[in-house]
Subunit: 298 residues, 3 copies
């Protein structure tokens, strides 16, 4: 494994191997894992704001003994008229081992890997509305921890699926893992026109008998300006409440990629309830990124 740009590039076997690696890191003292990649370095190039994903990658690198430098892009040479390609080749000439890149433009990491002649590894930390493969992996890992067998699961995904790279990577990953069924629900404008998955007619149908309920964040900043979504009424029509959650299987888990809009896509009682695995997702994010980076650099 040289890069991780699109989760579709990973087979079920590779994904399962990452689960095992993450499990192992969970049981290994950081004092030990820090010895694994001493002398390696990574550069985080985030062209979009991030707290959780950037911090998660920083901690994952630190725990593997990798020096990670997060560039302040606002101050970067791209402001001085340098092309993105030249910025990348400059940093690459400093002989780093790994680039972790978030960018607002779809598919840019693929292009970047071609500029590097595939010499240096790239991990996609989110590109536009396209892919967020490490989030997909941590979501799969979390589902696997609770459910083990994907083939019998019904996974409900609710919210702005159309503009969600989180949903894209998760759906792709679930397909690879041969998931039983994916059920989608959203206002018509926010559901992909082409999808092989079931579009539920209403939220209750979507949630009914689900093993996993994934609530997406409403990202006002990603929605088309002319879209007329009534956010005031969002919670009533598309929010997950305890009442609706009762329609799912009794052991169903509730997931959310964060940051949460409490009272909009998810109620406090659900977010803080016993079926929520939201903090476990965050915890798994660091472990899965450790596992991935370890595989890529080994």
């Amino acid at each position: 494994m040289k890069h991780l740009i699109d989760i579709k590039a990973l087979s079920a076997e590779k994904i399962t191997a990452l689960f095992a690696q993450a499990q192992q890191f969970n049981q290994t003292p950081i004092k030990e894992t820090r010895k694994l990649h001493q002398g390696r370095s990574a550069i985080a190039l985030f062209f979009e704001n991030s707290t959780r994903t950037l911090t998660s990658f920083q901690l994952a690198c630190q725990r593997l003994g990798i020096d990670i430098t997060a560039l302040n892009i606002e101050h970067s040479s791209t402001q001085k008229g340098e092309t993105l390609c030249d910025t990348l080749l400059t940093l690459n000439a400093m002989q780093t081992d790994l680039f972790i890149v978030r960018h607002q433009q779809n598919n840019i990491q693929q292009e970047m890997s071609s500029w590097l002649n595939n010499e240096t590894s790239i991990i996609n930390a989110g590109d536009g509305t396209n892919q967020h493969p490490t989030q997909g992996l941590l979501d799969l890992y979390t589902i696997w921890q609770y459910k083990q067998d994907f083939s019998t699961l019904k996974v409900a995904i609710i919210g702005d699926i159309k503009h969600s790279r989180v949903a894209n990577s998760l759906m792709d990953g679930l397909n690879t893992m041969n998931v039983g069924e994916i059920s989608l629900f959203a206002p018509d404008e926010l559901i992909p026109s082409k999808t092989k998955h079931l579009k539920a007619s209403d939220m209750n149908t979507c949630v009914k008998d689900a093993d996993v309920v994934v609530m997406l964040r409403i990202q006002k900043e990603r929605l088309p300006e002319d879209l007329n979504v009534d956010f005031a009424q969002w919670h009533e029509h598309y929010g997950l409440t305890n009442e609706r959650l009762k329609l799912a299987k009794p052991e169903a888990i509730v997931m959310h990629p964060g940051p949460m809009n409490r009272g909009i896509e998810i109620s406090d009682e659900v977010a803080d309830g016993s079926q929520s695995v939201i903090w476990q997702q965050v915890r798994n994010g660091v472990l899965m990124r450790q596992a991935l980076i370890h595989k890529i650099l080994s």
Copy 2:
């Protein structure tokens, strides 16, 4: 010791033990102290700007072998509508060992520790106008280095005492150490209405026979907007000059938490004079924070 949120939580014995630990770190090569906490991590969450305090904590952590990540709060998820509690629980789920938090709101760190169920340690790096306990500790440590016995000392504190978390933590700590006498001087509007300490009638009385003179920074940004303080004449009435310093004991030391407004609360001749221990305070800041973090994580 799990947290340090308010200096009043520390007994004289605990404070004295921290002095001893700081002294020991002062004599130990960093190459050795860096081995103490390998694999531990800290997250600095500063909701207010800081150079000296943040850098001091960063160096203290580095010198103990702790990976410290300073979050860029301006870019954080709180801008995406996430609650402070969710931001904290998210970072906590990444299994860090210590949060170092500065915030403009009084008492917020106490609340944060309850959100964390007291699981993860919090050090208060300043909350509003309330407490700045590590500054208090480094100030006590500095006084102790020069004077040893607190019970015979007169400590003069001059400036905006009412809005100063530095003064609050120092006065609380001096009380715990059974200080001889604290004398305060400020314009009436800037002195706490309730205080058990002596309010001097004029600056000369305040400084007279003092063993320690603490000058506070005028923080225009913290003053009530309608307060009518004449900053142009501040130095004349409330500034420490060599002439005034002569009223103190001959071996009196002069302290200032920095950053200094030279020519306002303190004259150049005093700031750079032989009685100034201002750089020693900064030096002690790193050592005391090392001592504190070491105790908390041990």
Copy 3:
């Protein structure tokens, strides 16, 4: 060697020793070099934006095992009215080993070293339009790698020489290395009035038979406001094209300090051509900074 503030302070012997040290670091695994300065710390104080230079210093320090803290100057105490001298003395009191300083004011690092009583080392990472000595060293190192003997070389330098600290440090260093000939070309307003080097009458003359062609970045932000330079026609008159490059010696190398304005001072075909050593310069930047910091701290 205590500081590096001006490249003129370095003898040819010292510069040659730095070449040898950089070569050695190039052949040593980072895992080994990281053991050299464990426990040392550096503070990067950049009062001007930078990606490449700051990152280069950060990686150089990391690869020597030095903890480097890059201060966010926008948030710094200088905004709170603190003098630059007090900011420096504050950081110095935290017992760091090295300051790496970029500042818009010429000669400020010299002044800073006097404030520090020469106790702590300073490396100049660029001061105004005056000096950028580590860039000069990496440029010399790159020329040396390709050409070895400086005394027979013709070096052409083209662009805004007058406002270029890069050109200043390079010309000074080339003088020290006893270069054969330096030929300069620029619009009259952008060439220093006093220079002992040849001002070419046109670009072809400047480039003709050169062994090294150094293209400078047009820095619109550094030019006097009233200067009437036609940037639209810059490429035609002062840009390096393949056609012009043919006038140089067949083995001539092309250098640029970056970031490049492609299509202005340099054409794509030259920047990406076989004679370009631009990425090698960047690579050498980290190695040379490692070599320099190693010498200073040893």
